[in-house]
């Protein structure tokens, strides 16, 4: 990790006001990412991975509210930045791609135009050059026959093709950070690998940092430098990828690893994680994994949740780590 990270999220808490009470979706979440680094954020659905991304981009739905924390990106705290500043940053300095690419694109606008819209907003290109640049981008994300695809609508393209368009749209202005939220969910396996390779390629060649959000450890295993494990709105463990896979310290991470298929493993070796992501309404226990944890003990109920640095770059939020 370099001395000054590209973005550092500290102490981030977010709550949602719903009909059934306040949901503390994120509690004191913290992690950082260096220039050019690829970080994976892993967890079950409902663990707060996507909420973290949306908060950083200032795209929380109206019911959501940031109650504490900072997200410093290039010297600017994104959480207190003005709407105008954020607009300048989004799409140019940091951008995001989403799952289900077909619905994430405007259904009634040609995909080339949608990419051109981003260029028009952020890149200082004359109108005539904009089209060429879009074609370049489409070629760069390996879309065959860019001339023809420029005028295509999302419904005329396959899911994988739409995701490539999304990527082209997100990297159009060479952002320093790309957040990929489940970029391969809903795509078939061969397409998945292609998309992930493309993302890896782009970040290597352009020196672009990438945050890869996924529920699938297999996706991040080989492609990420570091991994952040989230559970129920907490960061429970973060470590360099190799370390995390070799020696997980948080019971949840260990369970997560055991429930992920790996080459050479037998089906019987797979073990599910007991219980479900706990209800986050109202008061919660200091450790939110407590009710599912086989190592739980009295010490786990003592606030605050510990954050122990067990090795350089390896932090565990557990009173009784493995």
């Amino acid at each position: 990790m370099s001395a000054v990270p590209l973005m550092s999220v500290e102490d981030l808490s977010v709550e949602f006001r719903t009909r059934h009470g306040v949901v503390r979706a994120l509690e004191r979440v913290g992690f950082s990412i260096a220039r050019g680094e690829t970080v994976g954020i892993v967890g079950e659905s409902g663990s707060g991975k996507s909420v973290t991304a949306f908060t950083v981009l200032g795209l929380l739905p109206p019911a959501g509210r940031v109650t504490s924390g900072r997200a410093v990106f290039g010297g600017l705290d994104l959480l207190t930045a003005s709407a105008g500043q954020l607009l300048e940053y989004r799409g140019r300095e940091l951008s995001m791609i989403f799952q289900s690419p077909r619905t994430a694109l405007n259904p009634i606008r040609p995909v080339g135009k949608q990419i051109a819209d981003v260029l028009e907003r952020h890149a200082n290109l004359p109108r005539a050059r904009r089209r060429d640049r879009v074609l370049e981008l489409l070629a760069r994300v390996q879309i065959p026959d860019p001339e023809r695809r420029y005028h295509a609508y999302p419904f005329e393209l396959s899911g994988g093709m739409c995701q490539r368009v999304m990527i082209a749209l997100a990297v159009a202005c060479s952002p320093a950070l790309l957040i990929a939220d489940e970029p391969t969910t809903g795509l078939d396996v061969t397409t998945q690998a292609g998309i992930l390779d493309l993302l890896g390629d782009l970040s290597r060649t352009a020196g672009m940092a990438t945050i890869m959000i996924t529920h699938d450890l297999a996706v991040v295993a080989e492609r990420c430098d570091r991994i952040v494990v989230m559970h129920a709105g907490h960061v429970v463990e973060q470590a360099p990828a190799r370390t995390l896979f070799a020696r997980p310290r948080h019971p949840y991470t260990a369970r997560l690893l055991a429930s992920t298929p790996r080459a050479g493993a037998k089906l019987a070796d797979l073990t599910p994680i007991p219980g479900a992501v706990p209800d986050l309404r109202g008061e919660t226990t200091p450790c939110r994994y407590r009710t599912r944890c086989e190592r739980a003990a009295a010490v786990c109920d003592r606030p605050p949740l510990p954050r122990e640095v067990v090795a350089p770059g390896h932090v565990v939020a557990c009173a009784r780590p493995l």
Partner: protein, 339 residues
């Protein structure tokens, strides 16, 4: 090209609709109360005279034969003769249609220009005063009987405030109609460079158009709000925001264009309501359109104009739906390309 194909296909689809309309008007024609032959012959006619008229009207033929004659007459543009005016129904309708169209289109234009922004504003600021205002306007709009709204407006703006002219037709007694170009008095007066006349015509048009507009506004604003709320919550809007597009671009180019699709579909329904409401508004404001023409004929038991009116309205509506389909195709590539 794809659009032409779409238009052709929709036109083909409109044909059975038109056929249905013709069959229904024919059946309604046959179901008229009493004996038309006796009616046309008058109370003093002899039995023989009635039979003669029956033969002349083709009423002694079988029903299918009569239908063939009916369609043949329609093809010739023969809708019969009005007993009240003594003129061919087709000519009467043609002279009065511009008045009705001017009123309906003015009402629709007014409704759209107010309802769209209102719907968009209330969708982007749910719970704000604009939202509440929109809710009041839309609920009132669907609950107010249109003839009642018209009367209220007349009372307030003519009787109390004196701002509006008397609700007596398209022009006051001192003005003469402009030379006919479009048949819309306001437009024709402007074309004739007669500002005073255009103003006079506009003053007459204002209240009935507002009446229709208030009525049509409700469903449009309601649908715009609902559709806009749906679109604003959709994933591609999130993408557009994540890409840092300007709020205006997101709202107009991305959200509104998508949100308009169900609104365009709804316009067909709104137009159907407007054509019906037109009859009531024309009665309240003594507007000399086809609706009041049909009403006068209906009261006088003069059925040919009523039939002609119904046929005209239905045909107009079929073609309007065709236009709406084509406009929809213009906005939505999915329809255009799959055609």
């Amino acid at each position: 090209m794809a659009l032409l194909r779409l238009a052709g296909r929709r036109l083909a689809l409109a044909v059975p609709g038109l056929l249905g309309v013709i069959v229904v008007t024919f059946l309604l024609n046959r179901a008229l109360p009493g004996d038309p032959a006796a009616f046309f012959a008058g109370p003093a006619a002899t039995r023989q005279a009635i039979e003669e008229i029956r033969a002349r009207l083709g009423l002694d033929k079988s029903v299918p034969e009569q239908f063939v004659y009916y369609v043949r007459d329609l093809a010739r543009g023969d809708l019969g003769t009005s007993l009240t005016t003594g003129q061919p129904v087709l000519r009467d309708l043609a002279t009065r249609l511009p008045a009705s169209l001017e009123l309906t289109l003015a009402g629709l234009a007014l409704a759209v220009t107010v309802a769209l922004p209102l719907g968009v504003l209330s969708a982007t600021r749910p719970g704000s005063w604009v939202d509440h205002l929109a809710r009041v306007v839309t609920t009132a709009g669907v609950s107010l009987p249109i003839f009642f709204t018209g009367l209220l407006l007349v009372y307030v703006f003519y009787f109390l405030l004196g701002w509006a002219p008397a609700p007596l037709g398209r022009l006051d007694a001192f003005s003469t109609a402009p030379r006919q170009v479009t048949g819309f008095f306001v437009v024709d007066a402007v074309l004739a460079h007669d500002g005073a006349l255009a103003w006079a015509a506009l003053r007459q048009l204002a209240l009935p158009a507002v009446t229709l507009g208030l009525f049509a506004m409700a469903p449009i604003a309601r649908m715009t709000r609902a559709s806009m709320l749906g679109v604003l919550g959709s994933e591609f809007i999130r993408t557009a925001r994540a890409a840092g597009l300007a709020p205006r671009t997101v709202l107009v180019t991305y959200a509104l264009r998508n949100a308009l699709l169900p609104v365009i579909t709804l316009l067909g329904m709104v137009f159907s309501f407007l054509l019906g409401a037109n009859v009531l508004v024309e009665k309240v404001f003594a507007w000399p359109g086809v609706g009041s023409y049909a009403l006068e004929a209906l009261i006088a038991s003069d059925y040919a104009p009523v039939q002609g009116f119904v046929l005209l309205m239905a045909t107009l509506y079929v073609f309007l739906n065709l236009t709406i389909d084509i406009v929809y195709g213009l906005v939505d590539p999915r329809v255009r390309i799959e055609a």
